[in-house]
Amino acid sequence: MNTWHSLISLLPFEWTQFGFMRTALLAVLIVSPLFALMGTLVVNNRMAFFSDAIGHASLTGVGLGVLLGLADPLWALVAFALILGVGIIALQRFTRSAMDTVISLSMSFSIALGVVLLSQGGNFNKFTHYLIGDLLSITPGEVGQLLVTSVLVGGALLFAYNRILLIGLNESLARSRGMSAWWTQMLFCTAIVMVVTMNLRWVGILIVNSMLIVPAAGARNIAKNARQYVFYAVGIALFSGVAGLIASFYTNTATGATIVLVAMACFVVTLGIKAARHRWAGEWPSGTRIIG
């Protein structure tokens, strides 16, 4: 940790002179690749709305934690998000209803419950930092925790990547090859919950999902296979993470949101590259879907 700090402070920039910036930079370098890796699967498997619901459910988790009198509501948050995630998948499977309806229902329920719990006694303002997040307040000890959970979740994701990919491609096909869709989905759901809840305090409920989706959506525009897909997504996530952090220092804005704006700019660039490639190849049929 000390080596990290002395190394970064050697850089000839103003922001490198602040300890909190150096710690935050380390956090960004740890979580960005994980967000990107997970995002590629979330987008492929059309789970973007699902991960959004998990983020919003965290509000209720915080409320429950406060209600139970926990000093740190993190565990209540993880538990509630996990229950909701498993609940959504189980409900969708057993009732065979449309996924978006089930998610919408659970999200309405959990947000309403969260707001009711947290607004009790008119104290909602105390919790707004969960909505926006504050990356700059992260401590070196917390970065250590983040590193451990990121390595664990990242390892599990890589281990299950092929299965999740094939199930996302076509479930019957994966099943015919002896893969259990249920268990794979459960593992994936747990991983999403871990990533979203562990980073909630630094990124904020409102934009945690953008951190997952935007780099992957951008990479999808220019990638031709799974390896390029993840490679570009990680690249976009790292670039926008570092650039957004530094920009937020000079503009004095919320870090998470600034990172997402940079990532959105990257997305627009990939869109341009995609359009240019099509024009190059001489194909530009009317009605072509550009965003994919």
Binding site: L158, N162, S172, N225
Partner: protein, 262 residues
């Protein structure tokens, strides 16, 4: 192991013509509707059995039941012919009717193979073994040139050939094809049927194929089963085509009037 399995010993990869899969008295009810009723069918190695019937006859339901996706009454008995694959969970190759997938997903043909064959994450690199296996499997269906292409960029016929190659790696005990050629032009169809026909002999496969295209499959099928919730008739192509109900359903007796000059 039950005694009746003995005739398969040492016979793997030779045409044995014996039963590989026994379906006994299968019934399926989906949301209150009886979709399949008392269906009994024996599938033989090295034979192509084609399932025909009108829309809503339960053809795809029967395949999904064999894949273990639907609750059913009756018994399905798989015989582990090739050694791998257990009796309750045999190796089944499956080619879906029309692969419903996101055509914009950046997944290459090689990615699909590697992710199905091994646990080594496709995002890192493909092992030499996975690359060789994929190339050989694709060569068997005359599609090795497609290995680096994105799945979403393949034509209907190309995609079905890639899926066929995938379903044959590793060689399954039973191959299920759900209307594999719907939406494919005539040359693509003929190529697909020819490939399936070659593979059946080469790998001594039991194949169950669902088809709408009765006239197209008579030449390649060993047996045809006419299904309409229950089995209406089954036998050699010649026998089934002679059946009056089959002729009525497929309009085989219709005579196209030739225009005459006044």
């Amino acid at each position: 192991m039950e005694p009746q399995l003995d005739h398969h010993k040492g016979l793997a990869r030779h045409v044995c013509g014996e039963c590989c899969t026994k379906i006994e008295g299968i019934g399926v009810t989906l949301s209150g509707n009886r979709v399949l009723e008392n269906v009994s069918l024996h599938l033989h190695c090295g034979e192509l059995t084609t399932l025909v019937g009108p829309n809503g006859a339960g053809k795809s339901t029967l395949l999904r039941t064999l894949l273990g996706e639907l609750p059913h009454s009756g018994r399905i008995h798989f015989l582990p012919v090739f050694g791998h694959g257990r009796q309750d969970a045999p190796a089944i190759g499956y080619v879906p009717q029309q692969l419903e997938f996101d055509r914009f997903s950046p997944i290459s043909v090689q990615d699909a193979f590697s992710s199905a064959l091994s646990r080594w994450p496709v995002v890192l690199w493909h092992s030499r073994r996975d690359r060789n296996t994929a190339r050989e499997a694709l060569a068997a269906v005359h599609a090795e040139h497609l290995i680096g292409r994105k799945l979403g960029e393949l034509s209907g016929g190309e995609l079905q050939r890639v899926l066929l190659a995938l379903s044959l790696t590793p060689v399954p005990n039973l191959l299920l094809l759900d209307e594999p050629v719907s939406g494919i032009d005539l040359p693509g169809r003929e190529m697909f049927y020819r490939t399936v026909s070659e593979l059946r002999r080469q790998f001594d496969l039991a194949i169950l194929m669902v088809s709408h295209d009765l006239t197209g499959v008579t030449a390649v099928s060993d047996r045809i089963v006419f299904l309409n919730r229950r089995i209406v008739c089954s036998g050699t192509p010649a026998e089934v085509i002679a059946n009056p109900e089959v002729r009525r359903t497929f309009g085989l007796d219709l005579v196209i009037p030739t225009p005459t000059r006044p």
